[in-house]
């Protein structure tokens, strides 16, 4: 049947997402899709294509990854990523990144340049510096929007999943029953 590419920017999108939040994300999806199509048409390998497209998605603040990453309960950033090649079954993964601009490219370097599959936290950050990937001060990822979202989640005393509306601490509600509300794509 030929080549194919598919991408996502997070699940859980409520029907109430306002147009001013929806349109830039749809445009971003279209933009990233075109990058993937063009790369496949130029015979780039699927492994390079998926890394290229996810890097682009990481650099778009509308999605919960890279530039648009959400905050932990301590107000810090912990980014994670993984990549896998179907032919060789080789794979790479990273967790606990706080300064690396494109986590997916570091995961690719773990796959290509180490005998391991997964590096995390300080070890992953050290590896990033050894490999010379682009890093920035962690404050680059901590935006007023995300601080606001964290405060909302703290007030509701719950982990805010994607679009979950911050609610009062209701132990009877399961995460999946929580009503979705307007919000940005911050799905984990």
């Amino acid at each position: 049947m030929g080549w194919a590419v598919a991408l996502h920017g997070g699940a859980g999108v409520p029907f109430s997402l306002p147009p001013e939040a929806r349109q830039p994300r749809e445009e971003a999806l279209r933009h990233c899709l075109q990058i993937g199509v063009k790369a496949l048409k130029s015979n780039m390998s699927p492994l390079d294509v998926v890394e290229l497209v996810v890097r682009e998605l990481e650099n778009i603040p509308h999605f919960n990854a890279g530039r648009g990453s959400v905050l932990t309960n301590k107000g810090t950033v912990e980014m994670e990523a993984s990549i896998m090649d179907g032919n060789t079954m080789k794979c790479g993964a990273v967790s606990g990144l706080s300064t690396v601009v494109n986590a997916i490219s570091l995961a690719r370097l773990v796959m290509d340049n180490t005998p391991h599959i997964y590096l995390a936290f300080d070890g992953a950050e050290d590896f990033a510096r050894q490999q010379g990937v682009e890093t920035v001060d962690t404050s680059h990822f901590i935006t007023p929007e995300n601080i606001e979202r964290l405060n909302q989640a703290k007030e509701a005393d719950r982990v805010q999943i994607d679009y979950t509306q911050p609610i009062q601490n209701d132990t009877t509600k399961s995460e999946t029953e929580t009503p979705f509300a307007n919000g940005d794509s911050q799905l984990g």
């Binding site: 998926v50 309960n73 079954m89 986590a103």
Partner: protein, 132 residues
């Protein structure tokens, strides 16, 4: 969370997923995204990138299960992806994109919506959030 899966005209497959985690998560909490077989998987049959409530995806080894259903039950990509998303994982917790070596695409989810897009060599393309 963001992710991409791709297959070329020779049937070579790959998958990639990246995330910032969950708002207000505990420091040190790992989700499904970096776990091969939960948020990301690729073999000679298909490539899968998943998103959702990480704890549910880890318990359900979502990405690997799609490939396993194709491998061991002979399901098509769409049947395998739909089975995992709609029958195996709690409602409201998961979405995924997947492609097969034959160039098929599947993008099921069991949440209200999922930001998704796809294109195939025969000219089909889609950018969507909800379903009709």
């Amino acid at each position: 969370t963001v992710g991409c899966v791709a297959v070329d005209s020779n049937g070579n497959l790959a998958s990639a997923t990246s995330t910032g985690g969950l708002v207000n998560k505990m420091v040190g909490r790992i989700g499904d995204t970096p776990l091969i077989g939960a948020g990301t998987y690729a073999n000679e049959l298909c490539a899968v990138s998943a998103t959702g409530i990480g704890e549910a995806l880890i318990r359900g080894t979502v990405a690997r299960d799609v490939a396993a259903m194709m491998e061991f039950k002979g399901l098509s990509l769409k049947e395998a992806a739909d089975c995992v998303v709609h029958e195996r994982i709690p409602k409201g917790t998961v979405g995924l994109v997947a492609v097969s070596a034959a160039g098929e695409v599947a993008m099921p989810y069991n949440t209200p919506g999922m930001f998704r897009a796809c294109a195939t060599e025969d000219g089909y393309s889609e950018v969507a959030i909800w379903s009709d």
